[in-house]
């Protein structure tokens, strides 16, 4: 049964608000002095993780669509992709302002010298490339190549996780959780596994038959 139009509109607005909630929460923590003695670093690190939440959400849409065939998941793909880019730009902004103190000469030298920053910047370049080509005009113009171009999202995921891994100092637990989610989303794209997903739809729809 097709979802009514206004429901889909509400759904898109809800996703938009949900993507804003973490930013609002962290900002409020800073505003009430609950973010510790280094609020800039607090924002930097939390937004950094937020990038991965947004990226994971974006990458979960294809498997979810296969599972449910619900149109709503496809409708928020561009929005979530752009949220990923927005979070990544905010992350870079925090680094440049709060860690480097806007010393632009240092930004240049750090980008060249620190492997984890090189990797992070490469991931950002990938996100920007997808962001600027996310409009209908670019899709038409690029045609088939558009899909190829947007496959860099997988590269971005790998670079992002590598960037995160190189920041870890002494405990891999949190990183391992993120890496596991990333790996799961990739596994769901392996063709033989991806082909199984629609079958689960039958199971969800008719649980009675599943037990046979």
């Amino acid at each position: 049964m097709p979802t009514p139009r206004y429901t889909l509109t509400l759904w898109r607005i809800a996703v938009f608000i949900a993507a804003l909630v973490p930013l609002a929460w962290w900002s409020s923590q800073v505003a009430i002095n609950a973010a510790g003695p280094e609020p800039g670093r607090y924002l930097l690190l939390n937004i950094g993780q937020g990038i991965l939440w947004m990226l994971f959400s974006t990458l979960s849409l294809t498997p979810l669509t296969k599972l449910t065939r619900w149109k709503g998941f496809t409708l928020i793909r561009r929005q979530l992709g752009l949220w990923t880019l927005t979070y990544a730009l905010l992350h870079l902004f925090c680094y440049a302002v709060f860690i480097l103190g806007l010393d632009l000469s240092r930004l240049g030298s750090e980008i060249v010298r620190r492997p984890y920053i090189i990797v992070g910047m490469l991931a950002l370049v990938g996100l920007i490339a997808m962001g600027v080509t996310s409009n209908k005009w670019s899709m038409r113009k690029l045609g088939k190549r558009w899909k190829t171009l947007h496959k860099i999202v997988y590269l971005v995921l790998g670079l992002g996780l590598l960037h995160f891994l190189w920041v870890v100092r002494a405990d891999l637990e949190q990183w391992s959780l993120y890496a596991a989610v990333g790996a799961l989303l990739m596994i769901l794209r392996i063709p033989p596994i991806a082909r199984q997903l629609p079958k689960f739809r039958q199971l969800i729809k008719r649980p009675g038959r599943a037990s046979v």
């Binding site: 510790g36 003695p37 280094e38 800039g40 010393d103 620190r114 492997p115 002494a170 405990d171």
Partner: protein, 343 residues
């Protein structure tokens, strides 16, 4: 060799004093301050006492063990202070106790404050062993007893490029080492933190890269340097658990990770020990770990530091100083050494 281990229930000298006679340091200081004010005189003692007491008005009262109380009351206040007290203003107690790297309690900066309550700091004993004539297991009280507490206001520079200014209360590390009577073979001092996963959740993590116990080391001449202390308190009170209670190392000219917390073992050894961070990433963390603005961490610059607390509008970035500003006192220890190699 007599090794005396006090049981928690044992009576101590401080217990003999009737409570009515014993005045807490703060009440005593308050009395002095009142006296000084009413007399209108600038007595050096009362002026000093007033300064020490009023600096810590926002600090919640501690709950020191009985033996530490008289030591706190009798501390030598402001025995070492920064030359520029405007630049090196004290970090608020709340920040110094809620922004910690103490991986035994978790990797987040707020984890130690959240989790360290479970740490049992009384009774506490310390093993001193290795190349010493007077080793054994000592009750912390006995280890600290012969030395008067001194207040040392030191800059604390973390290897992560942030810094604070902390008023420690401690005793010279050299005093404790001397009393252990090191042999001629003792070339280094190795320190170990408590291992107690039931009290320290970080030690339970199977993803932790640190091979517990957390281990640190100093060269003998570094350990004997008068700036190196064993900290028993801060901000006029005993150490909060998240800051390394009941006692820790404080070596102000080295990156913070050298100042090992909650120490249970001090070994005098012949060979240079491998400290925990060096074991994890030898290309990033060395044995010496002297604060040095010219030698970068491979992942970030050490030329500057963020003095905390800072704000979004002012990241408070200041230049990092050679040996964290203690070059005059300690540079001679490293004469002729290539500090780029011995980072």
């Amino acid at each position: 060799m007599l090794i005396k281990i006090a049981k928690p229930g044992d009576l101590r000298e401080s217990d003999v004093t009737p409570e009515s006679v014993y005045l807490s340091r703060r009440r005593f200081m308050g009395g002095l301050a009142g006296l000084g004010l009413s007399a209108g005189a600038g007595l050096a003692l009362s002026g000093r006492a007033l300064a020490a007491a009023s600096d810590y008005q926002d600090v919640p009262a501690g709950n020191p063990p009985g033996w530490l109380e008289p030591k706190l009351a009798n501390a030598e206040w402001e025995s070492v202070v920064p030359a520029d007290r405007q630049l090196d203003k004290l970090t608020p107690f709340d920040d110094a106790t809620h922004y910690n790297n103490f991986y035994e309690f978790g990797t987040g900066k707020g984890d130690p404050a959240r989790n360290a309550d479970a740490l049992k700091t009384q009774p506490w004993s310390v093993v001193i062993d290795g190349e010493v004539n007077n080793g054994g297991r000592f009750d912390l009280e006995d280890l600290a007893k012969p030395s008067r507490l001194q207040e040392r206001i030191y800059r604390l520079r973390c290897v992560e490029a942030w810094s604070m200014v902390i008023p420690w209360l401690g005793i010279p590390l050299g005093d404790v080492i001397k009393r252990a009577e090191p042999t001629s073979k003792a070339k280094y001092v190795k320190f170990e933190t408590l291992v107690a996963p039931e009290q320290m959740p970080g030690q339970d993590s199977s993803f932790a890269l640190i091979d517990w116990p957390y281990t640190e080391g100093l060269r003998m001449d570094e350990a004997m340097h008068p700036l190196a202390i064993l900290g028993l308190g801060m901000y006029g009170r005993e150490l909060p658990n998240q800051n390394g209670a009941p006692f820790r190392l404080v070596v102000p000219w080295k990156y913070g990770f050298k100042s090992i917390k909650s120490i249970v073992r001090i070994s005098l050894v012949e060979e240079q020990p491998v400290n925990s961070w060096q074991a994890i990433a030898p290309d990033e963390y060395g044995f010496y770990a002297n604060v040095n603005p010219e030698v970068d961490h491979p992942r970030w610059s050490q030329a500057t530091e963020r003095r905390l607390p800072n704000s979004l509008f002012n990241p408070n970035i200041i230049d990092t100083r050679m040996f964290n500003g203690y070059a005059e006192e300690v540079a001679s220890l490293y004469q002729g050494m290539d500090l780029r190699k011995n980072f």
